[in-house]
């Protein structure tokens, strides 16, 4: 974790009183991992505006955060996750690169980062549902435990485990096999 946790409770208390500098400091500490989370979750739909919207939403909702209910980090992740889902819904009518259905799957190469990174992995991530993708990114990608991921995604812990059980083999196959060979039960084959 890149976070120095020591000042977080105080920073949160200050931010809750309207101290936007304190809020910015918290955001700066969590931003990189939230950026990774939201980017991997949305793929080509990702723009920085998603994070802007999420942080603004968090700032406005600061008074609703209660430490007894969970960590501030989890609370912030949850807001970012919801903003990502909203973004997905908003753009549903636009051409998609990532989707769960065959009819919505155009070429994976429209996502610029896919070329720079690993086409197969990006593509396989895109074949997962948003929940499955979020579980993998949080637990395997960012090192959250199942309980924390469940809190962020508002799912039972067992559901997180089952989403991971389903998603992991698909991603492993994508890492090992050529893109054209990748297919899975209930998932679309790349055209």
């Amino acid at each position: 974790m890149e976070v120095d946790p020591a000042p977080i409770p105080e920073m949160v208390a200050r931010a809750q009183c309207g101290d936007s500098d304190a809020f910015e400091r918290i955001v700066r500490e969590f931003d990189r991992s939230l950026r990774a989370f939201s980017h991997r979750l949305l793929g080509p739909r990702w723009t920085e505006d998603v994070l802007q919207e999420a942080y603004l939403r968090a700032f406005r909702a600061l008074s609703q955060y209660k430490a007894e209910r969970g960590t501030f980090r989890s609370w912030l992740y949850r807001i970012v996750y919801r903003c990502c889902l909203d973004e997905q819904r908003r753009r549903r009518r636009q051409p998609l690169v990532w989707a769960s259905g065959l009819e919505e799957l155009p070429s994976p190469h429209t996502f610029e980062s896919a070329v720079a990174a690993r086409d197969g992995l990006w593509d396989a991530l895109g074949r997962l549902s948003a929940e499955e993708r979020a579980c993998v990114i949080l637990v395997d990608g960012l090192g959250f435990d199942y309980e924390s991921a469940a809190t962020i995604l508002d799912l039972p812990r067992g559901t997180v485990a089952s989403r991971l059980n389903r998603a992991r083999p698909l991603l492993h196959r994508a890492l090992r096999e050529p893109l054209e060979e990748t297919k899975g039960e209930g998932h679309a084959r790349i055209p």
Binding site: P9, A13, Q16, D19, H39, Q52, A61, E68, Y146
Partner: protein, 228 residues
């Protein structure tokens, strides 16, 4: 349920690029978050509140007579959370809202500890170094506020004396804000009046606080006074 992190996927996901932060990202964010999310008192009410605070402060100020040399910071003429001095306990108090007119959103703080505060902490806003080096049996208490709460959650009223058994407990295995591996935490938010709440933090140098340690914390919490 077997819980694990898939190392191969972790490495693969780690290799994916993370988009850089644009130059104006925080400038844009700052522009949108300028201003307070909390409800502020209307000017008339604020004036009344200030008058009431000053009145009570005069009464409290006249009766004050600390016998313990506490490293107190800032003015203390308005009622803020405070610990009555006691042998073996160090206290630090701030009254930022009154002493720092340029930072009206700075919070008042009251600290108490049965260990010396790290010198750098007494000039800082948080006992960070003291907490990082809290020895076994050490206790640090921090009270933050009061501050205006506008959330919708039901927050209980503050029951004095505060007792650690009534606070939310985080054992020293991992929690957000954990200052050191052996430090457990107690925490609560509570209303002191219909608009305002305080946060009470208690850290103890133990991963399994003993009854004696909790009793010592309770004794100091019993010396906590709050503005009404």
């Amino acid at each position: 349920m077997h819980e694990y992190r898939d190392k191969e996927l972790a490495e693969a996901l780690d290799a994916l690029p993370v988009p850089p932060t644009s130059d104006d990202f925080y400038t844009r964010m700052r522009a949108r978050t300028t201003g307070s999310p909390r409800q502020r008192l209307m000017p008339g009410r604020r004036l009344l509140a200030t008058a009431a605070l000053v009145g009570v402060a005069l009464l409290v100020g006249g009766a004050a007579g600390a016998e313990f040399a506490a490293p107190s910071r800032g003015a203390t003429s308005t009622p803020v959370p405070a610990f009555t001095p006691a042998t073996g306990w160090n206290i630090v108090e701030t009254n930022n809202r009154q002493s720092c007119s340029s930072c009206p959103d700075k919070l008042d703080l009251a600290w108490a500890a049965n260990v010396p505060f790290a010198p750098q902490d007494t000039q800082a806003d948080w006992p960070t170094e003291t907490l990082k080096n809290l020895p076994p049996g050490g206790i640090v208490i921090v009270v933050v506020g009061p501050w205006t709460y506008t959330g919708s959650d039901a927050i209980p009223g503050l029951q004095l004396p505060v007792q650690v058994e009534n606070l939310h407990f985080e054992a020293a295995n991992w929690y957000e804000g954990q200052p050191a591996p052996n430090v457990s935490s107690y925490f609560t938010s509570a209303h002191i009046n219909p608009q305002e709440i305080v946060n009470v933090f208690v850290w103890v140098g133990s991963d399994n606080p003993t009854p004696a340690l909790k009793a010592a914390a309770d004794q100091e919490l019993a010396r906590l006074t709050m503005p009404s």
